[in-house]
């Protein structure tokens, strides 16, 4: 077992060696531009892109023509939301999203607000799930788009996508989902789920960074998005720019591997995740964040009360994890996702996200359990709050000097 151990697979995943192997020729001798129509170099590249498009389409149950390649999920989110807003402006200007979305969605919505869009940011329930009745109540005849993520990047909660899309469609709105954390990890089928637009990315599923895709439905209904970049009219005019052929080949291969291995991988990872979670929640005053039934198989988000996340991560120095603690960001604000669940700031500061992946072993999880337990106990020995808690002092009754 090599140290440090990587348990931050929601941030990014390592490239699968089989993906790398598929990509390599397209950096060197197969370097052609997929848009070159008049010679073999171009044809080889175009063929590779077409094949990748099929691989991607097969994973999510759509046709090849519905895949728009982008530079990643952030670009796909921007293209989907801004593109719909521009294309459907005469139908309405109302968009519904939720407060636990990724910044790529939230900040895009904020941008559109400045341009005149009316955005509803729905709150989530304590377990991180959308309240369907609230969603339905928020729908108006001006609503053109409901954009709600599939699986959450911080807590792994999986939204009731089918029910959400049904509500959107009932009111004549499109349904978009940022499925960056879900595609390749759990079954995602755009038809069964009623998805009209979907953003996802290669580097969260053992593919390369710098490539992603936007699914745009072509039938029932035919959806169009206005291009956000002007140029050569690539990708059916929706996304100009020379195609990143090696990246696209990598995304295709990554999708194929996920399709073939998802079931067994999900089962193995949820087993390891449950082992980690049940061992760590044996520590006093530790809590799992988010719904534990409807969630991704490979994420555990746990708050260890009375210790601060960044300090804790320093003690877990052989583990690469992440925290909702403010200290990990420049803003000094703890995770807005955890706060949306109604967690108090101090519990949000105390959270650690463990993200397991394809290459995580049981030995690593056993090590992580021991290392984390030791670190929590060490930090609690240093914590004045833990001492006060143990003395039976009610911390909420103390007048803290907020700074």
């Amino acid at each position: 077992m090599e140290l440090p151990i990587y348990l931050d697979n929601n941030a990014t995943t390592p490239l699968d060696p089989r993906v790398l192997e598929a990509m390599l020729p397209y950096f060197t001798n197969k370097f052609g531009n997929a848009a070159s129509r008049n010679h073999a170099f171009g044809w080889v590249a175009e063929e590779a892109v077409d094949y990748a498009r099929e691989q991607v389409a097969k994973l999510i149950g759509c046709t090849e023509k519905e895949i728009i390649f982008t530079s990643g999920a952030t670009e796909a989110d921007n293209l989907g939301i801004k593109g719909v807003y521009e294309m459907y402006q005469d139908k309405g200007n109302h968009i519904i999203t939720v407060t636990t979305e990724h910044k790529a969605v939230l900040d895009t919505c904020k941008h559109l607000e400045k341009l005149g869009a009316n955005i509803t940011y729905l709150k989530v329930k304590e377990d991180g799930l959308v309240d369907l009745q609230e969603l339905e109540a928020a729908m108006t005849d001006q609503t053109i788009l409901v954009t709600i993520m599939y699986g959450n990047n911080e807590i792994g909660v999986v939204q009731p996508v089918k029910e959400i899309s049904a509500i959107a469609h009932k009111f004549g709105a499109l349904f978009m989902t940022d499925a960056t954390q879900a595609v390749g990890k759990i079954p995602v089928d755009v038809n069964a789920d009623g998805i009209d637009i979907m953003a996802f990315s290669a580097h969260k599923m053992y593919g390369p960074k710098g490539v992603g895709a936007l699914y745009v439905r072509r039938k029932n209904p035919r959806v169009k998005v206005t291009a956000q970049m002007d140029g050569g009219g690539h990708e059916r005019g929706m996304r100009s720019g020379t195609l990143n052929v090696p990246g696209i080949v990598g995304l295709g291969k990554a999708c194929e591997l996920c399709r073939l291995e998802m079931d067994s991988e999900a089962q193995r990872l949820s087993g390891l995740r449950d082992k980690l979670e049940s061992a760590l929640t044996q520590l006093e005053e530790s809590y799992v964040n988010g719904n534990v039934q409807h969630r991704l198989p490979h994420v555990a988000n746990i708050s260890f009360k009375y210790v601060e996340g960044e300090g804790l991560m320093m003690a877990m120095k052989d583990l690469a994890v992440s925290s909702g603690s403010a200290c990990t960001s420049a803003s000094l604000e703890p995770s807005y996702v955890l706060k949306s669940l109604g967690l108090s700031d101090d519990l949000a500061h105390s959270s650690i996200r463990f993200g397991l992946g394809r290459f995580t072993t049981e030995e690593e999880i056993d090590y992580a359990i021991e290392n984390t337990k030791k670190a929590v106990n060490h930090l609690r020995d240093l914590s004045p709050l833990w001492e006060m808690f143990k003395e039976g002092i009610d911390l909420s009754k103390i007048e803290w000097a907020e700074h």
Partner: protein, 137 residues
């Protein structure tokens, strides 16, 4: 962002972790920060009849830099007179630990903790508290 060696050293081997008897007249306790902000420091000093700090202890809830700042503060406090202790400035801590700008608030908190402990000691012994005019927030 990587931590400086000195922060790592104090974090890994924190000096003077513990608790003094807060009810003792010779002990001053400073509790600063707030759980909501992700930092709480408790710093205690024990002062002898010559106004010399003979012992200092801390416990901190916070990031590595907050723990290192309070550990360093206790190290500096021991052997100083109360008047000398009052001259410890947060920028001395920043310099010693090579704290980046985003962590300066940890040093500010440590300075506040020192002053608050000294004031607690003074009030307990019938002296007027010092004005903590310097506000960083």
């Amino acid at each position: 962002m990587a931590y400086s060696e000195k922060v790592m050293e104090h974090y890994t081997n924190p000096r003077n972790v513990g608790t003094l008897n807060k009810d003792s007249k010779s002990v001053g306790t400073g509790l600063v920060g707030a759980p909501e902000c992700g930092d709480v420091m408790r710093l205690q000093i024990e002062v002898d009849e010559n106004n010399v700090i003979t012992d200092a202890k801390f416990k901190t809830f916070g990031c590595g830099s907050a723990i290192a700042s309070s550990s360093l503060a206790t190290e500096w406090l021991k052997g100083k007179t109360v008047d000398e202790a009052l001259t410890i400035d947060n920028m001395d801590i920043v310099e010693e630990l090579a704290l980046p700008p985003v962590k300066i608030h940890c040093s500010v908190l440590a300075e506040d903790a020192i002053k608050s402990a000294i004031n607690d000691y003074r009030v307990k012994n019938g002296l007027a508290p010092f004005e903590l005019a310097k506000s960083h927030h």
